[in-house]
Symmetry: C2
DNA sequence: TGACACTAATGGTTTAACCATTATAATGTT
DNA sequence: AACATTATAATGGTTAAACCATTAGTGTCA
């Protein structure tokens, strides 16, 4: 932090403050993890009152650009740019019933199919080693039976996350994370499957990973879609 | 508005206020378009100070749940639930260079392909009439030459929006709107094409609409993907 | 009838004080 | 020396009261 920030202007002063700080963060002038000056210092820099400045900080916090901590060493810490707003928006759409579980599941089918196909085109040998490593962990948890269902689900999600990363387009990663987060937020309580479904799930993952490592894009897309579709059908049955 | 809202509690008072109002909006207890009480009245309801209450309103405004107007008849008006947060998040990801133009274009390819395929499965005769009506308008603007390029682009976007609606999944509509908004926000200035590209664009749209109305899902998906891909190539050339 | 000014409701901003939380330093105890 | 306890100070959270700025509606006047 050097000589940045000029006196706040415009009609709504807090908006000007938001704009200045947001630009500085998005342009990389302030590192993620670093701390903004204390509220009372920022007030002097922007020549504004504390109330107005705090309204600006509330907005930046809601945008998930900063995180505000209490106590000594508290203050506004700059966060990494992330996709939390998407997840939050999705949560609101679901809460308000503008988007249903069926919509969410169908959307996920389409996206995971596309992502699976791209991953098959772009997977390197290193990527495939990682996928097979994750698959081996999933196999161990599968053999552990229903007691390790939670662990299996976690690995399942790690595999999907890894495939999205391998697809090479961060937008897919952000959006799939939003979808996964919301599935967990709203529907976790309904999810419980038997050992048969667990086995089927594992076989799905194994087939998808094989297709990706064979660079068989069409198969990877089709298998991914089927895998997600089966999952969606389970959810629907549980919710009925 | 009846007897809702109890005294604000918890560590961060403004967060409790946000939660109460947000729930009321998302649960439909407060209609979109209606006005919340004035700040000073809300302060009494929540038994909080005006500064704290205003921090809560700032958050709700940033979530695009309310819109605050000035002057007489001003105040916090409840908005329809929408996908603006997604668009804003996407804008920040692009601004911070976490997502590039190429990523955005590739993502759009995948989504528009999926949407085109779904629309072909679900289009009714009424939908097809609407699409052909839009196509006729596009044809008129095409014949108007480059002078009506702006109008042509608007109809083009209307067609894509209509196809997303016909696909029957609002999530696709929200996300495609976010993508379109950001393409316009960041790349409009680079976009200018000649009459040949305009003609090609029109032929693309005509072919897509034909496929949709023939319920030829695979063709609609493939043509949509090609259409978007061609657009993406143009953008890349302009940016070079 | 139209232009202008007044009025009142409402959000925007400022100031100054005090409360709550927490990392660190100072102190005491074993 | 090691550990538990307490005090300190930095920082965000909250309150109160006053005043400024914007704007729809109303009233006045030419």
């Amino acid at each position: 932090m050097k000589k940045l920030f000029h006196k706040a202007q415009q009609k709504r002063v807090y908006q000007d403050v938001v704009n200045q700080i947001q630009e500085a963060i998005l342009d990389g002038e302030i590192e993620a993890g670093s701390k903004l000056p204390a509220e009372r210092s920022l007030c002097e820099m922007f020549q504004t009152s504390r109330g107005t400045l705090r309204e600006a900080l509330r907005i930046l916090e809601q945008k998930s650009l900063i995180e505000i901590r209490l106590g000594t060493n508290g203050g506004a810490y700059v966060r990494d740019v992330n996709g939390e707003l998407m997840a939050e928006n999705l949560a609101m759409l679901i809460h308000s019933k503008a988007v249903s579980l069926a919509h969410l599941a169908e959307f996920r089918e389409g996206v995971e199919a596309t992502v699976g196909g791209l991953a098959a085109q772009r997977a390197t040998s290193v990527d495939c080693e990682e996928l097979h490593g994750l698959l081996a962990r999933a196999e161990r948890f599968r053999d552990g039976g229903l007691e390790q269902w939670d662990s299996f689900v976690r690995v399942d999600e790690q595999i999907h996350t890894a495939i999205a990363r391998i697809a090479g387009n961060p937008l897919y990663s952000f959006i799939l994370k939003s979808v996964h987060d919301n599935i967990h937020r709203y529907y976790d309580k309904f999810l419980f499957v038997g050992s048969q479904e667990l086995e089927e799930n594992y076989q799905d993952l194994a087939a998808i990973i094989t297709a990706i490592c064979d660079h068989d894009s069409a198969a990877a897309a089709s298998l991914s879609k089927g895998h997600v579709h089966r999952f969606a059908v389970y959810m629907k049955e549980k919710l009925r």
